[in-house]
Symmetry: C2
Subunit: 250 residues, 2 copies
């Protein structure tokens, strides 16, 4: 039996946002490896072993998956969103680089998915319709100074911005500092989108001007999108539309 490893993106939550490519890989798998709530999204069936693990053990989980594939199993590592955006793909390749030499020549594929910022953007309009950046606000794996420097430069470049992992119980204060940095550099009316659990039953999306943004509007299930200086709001009878025009005047 020839093993393989697919690192698959399950999208933000709804089954209708899982690509057929990912569904096909799950149907062929003998083993699914991942963080508990993502593995819980995979239906049990005979012949499939589910390996769920807690958060913050990404490298151990990656090694377990590589070891299973090396022993001939057909393994899917599940991530939410897209596996290449602040998710499991980089962890697997870190494990490959530092691990057994045989792991390099395994059949490893990355199966893209709908990442949180694009699902969130779609819900409100097209706030990422022009140049933008994506920043992970967790300082577990990088110094805070780097986050602040990137924020300042992103505002100077006038990118729209998407923030992943804005706030957690272990890091309650960082996002307040992010809002302070933005308030010093952006107009008070700049649109901020707080998009929580997009496409899931507990979805909650709100759009507020920067002046009204509060740290407690975000948690670890929230992606935050900050408009650029050109981002516009279209008022209407329902929720407003937010979009960033394609053009920048000379």
């Amino acid at each position: 039996m020839s093993g393989w490893l697919a690192i698959a993106g399950l999208g933000p939550g709804a089954e209708a946002l899982v690509t057929p490519e990912v569904s096909a890989a799950l149907a062929e798998a003998t083993d699914v490896v991942g963080y508990i709530p993502y593995v819980a999204r995979v239906a049990e069936r005979p012949g499939l072993t589910l390996h769920a693990s807690d958060n913050r053990v990404e490298l151990d989980r990656a090694r377990q998956a590589l070891d299973l594939a090396a022993r001939g199993r057909r393994v899917v590592v599940v991530s939410s969103g897209d596996p290449g955006v602040f998710a499991m793909a980089a962890a697997v390749f870190e494990a490959v680089e530092s691990g057994e030499s045989g792991w390099r020549d395994l059949d490893i594929r990355v199966l893209p998915g709908i990442t949180a910022m694009l699902a969130a953007a779609a819900r409100v309009g097209a706030p990422l319709g022009h140049d933008f950046c994506a920043i992970n606000l967790s300082d577990n794996l990088k110094p805070w100074d780097i986050i602040e420097k990137r924020l300042r430069l992103a505002v100077e470049a006038d990118f729209a911005m998407a923030f992943y992992n804005p706030r957690s119980k272990a890091r309650p204060d960082g996002f307040a500092r992010v809002l302070d940095v933005l308030r010093k550099r952006c107009e008070a009316s700049r649109p901020i989108i707080f998009a929580r659990a997009v496409s899931r039953s507990d979805e909650d999306v709100r759009v507020v001007p920067l002046a009204q943004a509060r740290p407690e509007m975000a948690d670890m299930s929230t992606v935050v999108i900050v408009g650029s200086s050109t981002t516009r709001i279209i008022e209407r009878s329902g929720a407003p539309l937010v979009y960033t025009p394609r053009s920048v005047p000379a």
Copy 2:
């Protein structure tokens, strides 16, 4: 009959990368509107009218779609990739804002898709595994100075970068200038990924160090990914793996 408008992302090309949500919208549509090669990806069937138009008429196309929806049709505007990333969603909202007041209260949804940079990243590993930005290199809709300023700031922020629309017959020289800007600011070994037509039959993906990158390696069907200073290459018997680690050392 109650009309609606869905702005849908068809992904980079393969049917296996079209979400079930998009397939369902196409199955319910009475009209599909879009650029000729994207409309050509939709199967003809009785009751479905295909409206294919040439490039560079995005606003006219958006108005046509809004007008059809206002007249009670079920309309899908098709984009490649994700409609919110350098595609039709922003054009539709520009048309809504400047158009008939009744258009604001239409049932308009954006259906996300797999955007080119994420499909390209998945093919080579996880080069966008840490903070990154996406820049449209076309200067049709913005001054060249803005592009160069954003490039300089993105290098200073040490983002990985994805470039859309790097080069066309009408704009043969801009991408050469982009490479010049990068060569002045980045080490010669910085990995550059040229990913053309990912997931299509004519897919062509190559990874070269910046010193060997040439303008003619890109065309309008190419997305270019530039690693950050921490991006790594894992050599192996097949094509090398490229990934950006999750952590930045203090």
